[in-house]
Amino acid sequence: MGIAVEAVIALVKIAVVLGVVSLVVAYLTYLERKIIAHIQQRLGPMRVGWHGLLQPIADGAKLFLKEDIIPDKADKVVFVIAPIMVLVPAFVVYSVLPFSSTFYITQVNIGIFFILAVSSLGVFGIVMAGWASNSKYSLLGALRSAAQMLSYEIFLGFSIIGPLMLAGSLNMQKIVEAQSDVWFVFYQPLAFVVFFIAALAETNRVPFDLPEAETELVAGFHTEYSGMKFAFFFLAEYASIMVVSTVAVTLFFGGWQGIGWIPLPGFVWYVLKLGAMIFVFIWIRATLPRYRYDQLMRLGWKFMFPLVMANIFLTGLVKFLFL
């Protein structure tokens, strides 16, 4: 009966993580609105609950009850599958994230590789949504996002090679343990810069939110979506922000490892670092304008690609010579 107990434990863990993550992601939208509002010297949501604390729930209820419109000329099957295709990879990734030294759903020995691989599937949902909507704006958004995510995945992948070389493992827990002395961000600043930019692009955040650029492509790939399907895209975006922030914290900021002697549980450290990371994401959204498509590509291939290659070379050289 061992396998049944294991399965039940795993299912409970999955349920807990899914529930918590969904709630956190919903409140991430609230957090973003509040932070941006205060940067812009206004109040943000204030009406639902104390300081608008119930706003995400109200939003969720509204989106859930909204009429679900499928355009007449859309490819209906693909149109319906697309939001699911975006949401599922974003949540599957949580199965390997190390929340603390003891709490995780599963340990995979290709952990970080698994995250990269699964999150690369998110682009399918976007491309499918853009194509199935049968709208020109959506199609343009889908084309942009296909090119953008394909390119930036490469930089994302290459930028984590440096820390991985130092850690000598793909397992998320081992990577964290390898940083018990010094965080890798101090060894690998270049890699972190590239990783952060690529992460912004992968999650379609400002200044790389070209696939959905409201003012050019109206809303890009999700122009035609409404109700719950639209909410799925939204949730997926914030879920992936959480994922990339977690990966950044894990790879560069020592995961759940604390600073010095301050006695806090690992999970708290993890949440603190994650929060700081997410704050930077939101801060950037409030500050920067949007790149143009060709500039985005130029930045990627002419600036970040050589940088990250040099980083890998240097890391290898140093490791070969001194370690």
Binding site: D75, N109, F113, L116, S120, L143
Partner: protein, 169 residues
């Protein structure tokens, strides 16, 4: 247990690829192929090839198939759906394929493979096959690896030259 999962994945792969070959809409076909690839990744995990499963998803599904979708969207599929889909030789081709299938079936039916060897790494076991695979890839197969990278480079240059437009302005 393992066998059940194998049948599940195999059924998924075969079903998706059968549907894929018969679709008129190229986008649908490509998406079905992605589905088949995801099932295949599951199959690889089952066979103890986790790294390969990752590569399958990352490169095949996340890279090559996105490239396909991108190119298909650049071309106009709307009209292509209304064209005749099947080649004139298709009945002949089907016959040939069935014949080939019968032959393979006959060969497989004879069986006679040596028994399985012990597998030092497998599902859920922590040392994993990533290290081992890397070891083999960068020692024993270093030369083929380098050749493959040259091939990729050549393909990249070729693709750029082929698809590049004459700059008239």
């Amino acid at each position: 247990m393992e066998l059940a999962f194998f049948y599940l994945f195999a059924a998924g792969i075969v079903g998706a690829s059968l549907l894929m070959v018969t679709r008129a809409n190229v986008i649908h076909a490509a998406l079905l192929l992605v589905l088949a690839f995801l099932f295949m990744a599951g199959l690889f995990v089952l066979a103890g090839a986790e790294f390969l499963a990752g590569v399958q998803i990352l490169i095949y599904a996340g890279g090559i198939m996105v490239l396909y979708l991108f190119s298909i969207m650049l071309m106009n599929v709307g009209v292509a759906v209304r064209l005749r889909q099947w080649h004139r030789q298709s009945v002949l081709a089907l016959a040939a394929a069935v014949l080939l299938g019968a032959e393979v079936w006959a060969v497989l039916g004879r069986g006679g493979y040596p028994g399985a060897k012990a597998w030092g790494w497998g599902l859920g076991q922590t040392p994993g096959n990533v290290e081992a695979l890397g070891e083999v890839l960068y020692t024993k197969f270093l030369f083929p690896f380098e050749v493959a990278s040259i091939l990729l480079l050549a393909a990249m240059i070729g693709a750029i030259v082929l698809a590049k437009r004459e700059i008239t302005r």
